[in-house]
Amino acid sequence: MSAGNLKSRHQQPTPDDVEPGDSVRPGHPVQVSRYTVAARINHWVTALSLILLALSGMALFTPSLFFLTGLFGGGQWTRALHPWIGVVLFFSFAGLFLRFWKANLPAREDGTWLARISDVLRGREERLPEIGKYNAGQKFVFWGMSGLIIVLIASGIAMWDQYFYAFTSIEQKRVAVLVHAVAAVCIICVWIIHVYAAIWVKGTIGAMTRGKVTGGWAWRHHRKWLRELVGTRPGKRPPTPAE
């Protein structure tokens, strides 16, 4: 980060969607670093929390899924653990938020991307504008998760009777359980979109496991970002052995 930032002070500023650690390494194929180790660990802690929350929450949401409490050691354990996992998710996601919020600010091409959503769904990316690190769909997932997690933690605390019973009225608790349930349904849908997109767009999952994608993937899906990375590469080409 320091090298890039120091350089950019003299050249053009680093674009919003280039995050610390993002870099290009020429080769066959070109390797593009997309997520640092810390970002990936942060992501998977969040992911595991969200999955555990969905399972334990669904168990308490509908009697037909109450059997899922067995995964957590029974009903009492599920009731006791669910809010604490929520606290883990909140802080873990806060870490992701601080890492990713800047790259998820709206960009001009987002409107065009959304207007051509049918081309997106058909996989005709040659008909789409060049996209930065995140497309409008990814930004929707990011901001959707951010907003819903705020709603879920706030309503969750209002119904966490073990510690916070005295702080809300029963009528407020009733609002909280309804809001919590609706927000949970929404966040699970956002999660389904997120996971499905990662499965559908081949070569994506490696970004969150090994931290890298191929140059072709970046060219196809996030060409603006790739151009920015190539443009801000110190010393440009050819790469020195020391790099």
């Binding site: 060049e130 073990q162 009528e171 608790k173 699970i188 140059g215």
Partner: protein, 328 residues
Amino acid sequence: MFPPIPNPSVASDAATPRFGEKDILRRSASEVTPPAQRLTEVAKLIDVSKCIGCKACQAACLEWNNLTEEIGFNHGVYTNPMDLTPDTFTLMRFTEWVNPETENLEWLIRKDGCMHCEDPGCLKACPAPGAIVQYSNGIVDFQHDNCIGCGYCIKGCPFNIPRISKVDHTAYKCTLCSDRVAVGQGPACQKACPTQAIVFGTKDEMKDWAELRITDLKSRGFANAGLYDPPGVGGTHVMYVLHHADTPSIYAGLPDNPRISPLVDAWKGVTKYVGLAVMGFAAAAGFLHYVVAGPNKVSEEDEENAERLADGTPPPAPPAGLQEGRTP
């Protein structure tokens, strides 16, 4: 005087419970086949006009249920403790009320506790199968082995009755002494009441008895005397005779028109079904999209273009007519 319930028989078969599992009308978070024959509905009638506020009922409840309330503080009022707790299933609530018509101070004393609703909000809200059951005689009972301590019953209850114990993390409330009723006895509070302000019998008997009491009260000038058996929750199996039945809320906040909150109805009803449907739809849409559109793969050409870009050789210009919307 209402004929008192006779003392229990000492015959060997008298302790056989007269109702149980087979008489369960509703069971939380479960589907049950209702029993073919419904037991006679029972009810407890609390005549506030006869209550002298002695708290014998409160003491009898602690004693029968083997509860020990924490030693609290004197807040300068007769109500003690100040609210229902996991150890106080029933509580005398004292209200000093000035009747605007007569300018008289009236001391309203109401024995608070579970109303044993015909349509119990606690049972509706409960997510744990079998933690709350309703017997066909109208008694709503908590089964502590199944309770998970989530407190949803508190949100479901229109009367603010259940309390979660900090000791075993399960919900507690009046059982209507289901164990006593099962062997032909009345509840402990009723047994202890010295003035017959609390009577117990079948729901029909109690309504008839209430009618006599209301007629008596009206003859004494309480024109608004009446029975509190709120229809919003399908009626209750604990009923009050109130001398001011037109304004139940003056009796320490007894709800005027109790019903299960629409928020709870929405949460346990439409949200559950629509929510599951929406999540199922999202997953199915993803699956269908994959089948129809196929995976979105990176081509060899994409890789070559990226290599050219990284090497500094200009990659081919994108096809004409697709420039719009691009950032410069």
